[in-house]
Symmetry: C2
Subunit: 322 residues, 2 copies
């Protein structure tokens, strides 16, 4: 069993970057580092890059690997957390890869693997915006929309281990194909595509100016800037996305009677309270019974560190429970 005062490593493995962090016994980050994933190099090369960023973050933290109690890692895609296997990660082009076993062989410490969104949700639950609650939904809006659930004080994976896929729930059953799921209606990808289409159809918007005419450069910060500067087109499109997100959150709270929802992702970090308010207004209109409108809807507190902190804290929970 791990000692309570040993540090833990957390890794957030993305298609583009590998982020690493070391947390101490107070669950705070001691050091962080990052490295490009270079997924094109294949599975073994990515494992070597994880080992490399682990070495450098341990150097920064002045901790030796033999003194680390364990490492948690969040991977983008379907994960069998019981076996430490990445079942399918589209961004990395991995299928049934035993990431836990490989990393354990390289580093010689216990490894805990889970899905990246689950790990981010766990971070917010243990050390972020959800830490005063026993149950919560974490929902992360980015190029896609992912969700994670904490029920009865533990991550909820479900019988087939895929729980939390709120982005793939139907919110508009009567709409045409491609306009039915939450992700298709409200991801940042969809917000940007809608704005592009409307601007190309000559709807006036400051977005063109803010991107110097290159609409492929629209990111969360630019969306937030246009929204805050009262750009009507951006406000309408973001308002629609918030409407679908608020309705989907209401559905989840209605089904699971939750006390707290943490909303994360780039747009949340850029827009903060204004974005949460748009979502909350719709949520309150739709949630049932009406008393559930007391459920807290809050912005992520850990932001970009939710994954590394959550991964480290998940390793801590799992290994200290064993």
């Amino acid at each position: 069993m791990a000692k309570n005062d040993q540090p833990y490593l957390g890794i957030d493995l993305g298609g583009t970057n590998i982020q690493a962090g070391v947390i101490g016994s107070d669950n705070q980050l001691i050091a962080t580092d990052r490295l490009k994933t270079k997924a094109d190099g294949g599975q073994d090369a990515v494992v070597q890059r994880i080992v490399k960023v682990v070495d450098s973050v341990l150097d920064k933290a002045k901790v030796k690997v033999k003194d680390v109690a364990g490492l948690g890692i969040g991977a983008p895609g379907a994960v069998n957390h019981k076996k430490g296997i990445v079942i399918n990660a589209v961004n990395l082009r991995w299928v049934d890869f035993p990431l836990g076993k490989q990393l354990e062989k390289e580093l010689g410490i216990p490894i805990v693997v889970d899905n990246d969104v689950n790990v981010g949700t766990w971070g917010e639950y243990m050390a972020g915006a959800g830490k005063d609650h026993d149950e919560l939904l974490g929902i992360f809006v980015g190029t896609g929309i992912g969700g994670g659930l904490v029920l009865n004080g533990d991550l909820y994976h479900g019988h087939h281990l895929t729980a939390g896929e709120i982005g793939h729930t139907i919110i508009n059953a009567d709409a045409g194909l491609g306009r039915r799921t939450l992700e298709n209606l409200a991801s940042r990808t969809n917000i940007v595509n809608q704005l592009k289409q409307l601007i190309l159809a000559n709807h006036p918007s400051d977005i063109s100016k803010l991107t110097d005419g290159d609409l492929d450069r629209v990111r969360s910060k630019i969306l937030a800037e246009a929204f805050t500067n009262d750009d009507k087109l951006t406000q309408v499109v973001i308002g629609q996305a918030a409407h679908y997100i608020g309705a989907s959150i209401a559905n989840t709270v209605t089904l699971l009677s939750l006390p707290c929802v943490v909303v994360g992702g780039g747009l949340t970090e850029a827009l903060q309270a204004e974005w949460i308010k748009l979502i909350r207004d719709v949520f309150e209109e739709y949630v049932f019974p009406p008393e559930l409108s007391k459920c807290k809807i809050v912005a992520s507190e850990l932001g970009d560190d939710a994954g590394t902190i959550g991964a480290a804290l998940l390793a801590k929970q799992r290994l200290e429970k064993d």
Copy 2:
């Protein structure tokens, strides 16, 4: 602690009828009975009627009340199962009524109170169509649409104790008021109302003949008869309802990664396999990831007895756990 071989009482308290059952150590019904609720008489009168039907069902089963290990009761509405309080039951016009305490005073045995849909779901989980699974959604389509969840082998109530309200989830966020929630779109009430409107607008249908022209007499059996006799209007309207139910079930399975869904209620009992097939086809189209289409979708096995059996078995589980 209750002895394993003692019988348990189960009560399904409805707005119209009180159903009672006694189960033996093999979890099978020994005897059943029913009595009108007569909710107009008020809370205390209803408690006396519950005592009356308990006496008569125990007589039938040749069991004395002092030999009963406990009584479970499902009440229609919001229930605090921890305190045995009916928080709000619209059909009975009860608010914050301590049903558990009152019945314990009258009968002198331990009482377990829960919501009627939870209790029906528990019955199907323990002794019906869901008994080979560790987790399930029970969905009951009638005048309204109710749901219950078993997660990790236990009824899931959620932080605010209201979990399972699938009928109040949004499935058509862009539709007009009254056409957004599952219950508004797919309850038997809505199916009948839609048929009435269409028939009054001169759409041809056998329903008029089957009800001798009195459209207020449409019940599940008549709907099933018209559907099976190839009445096109009934098939279209029932098909639409099944579409929304299939999409809502897909949403729940996508979110919770469930292995089993049990569908109950009068229309399910009347139509059986044809109804389940309509629901399943939509479910398979929408569930994510696609591997979850292996989730079983099955008709209730206990039918009208799900409530009494479930209530008795819930009392057994709670009291033997204590």
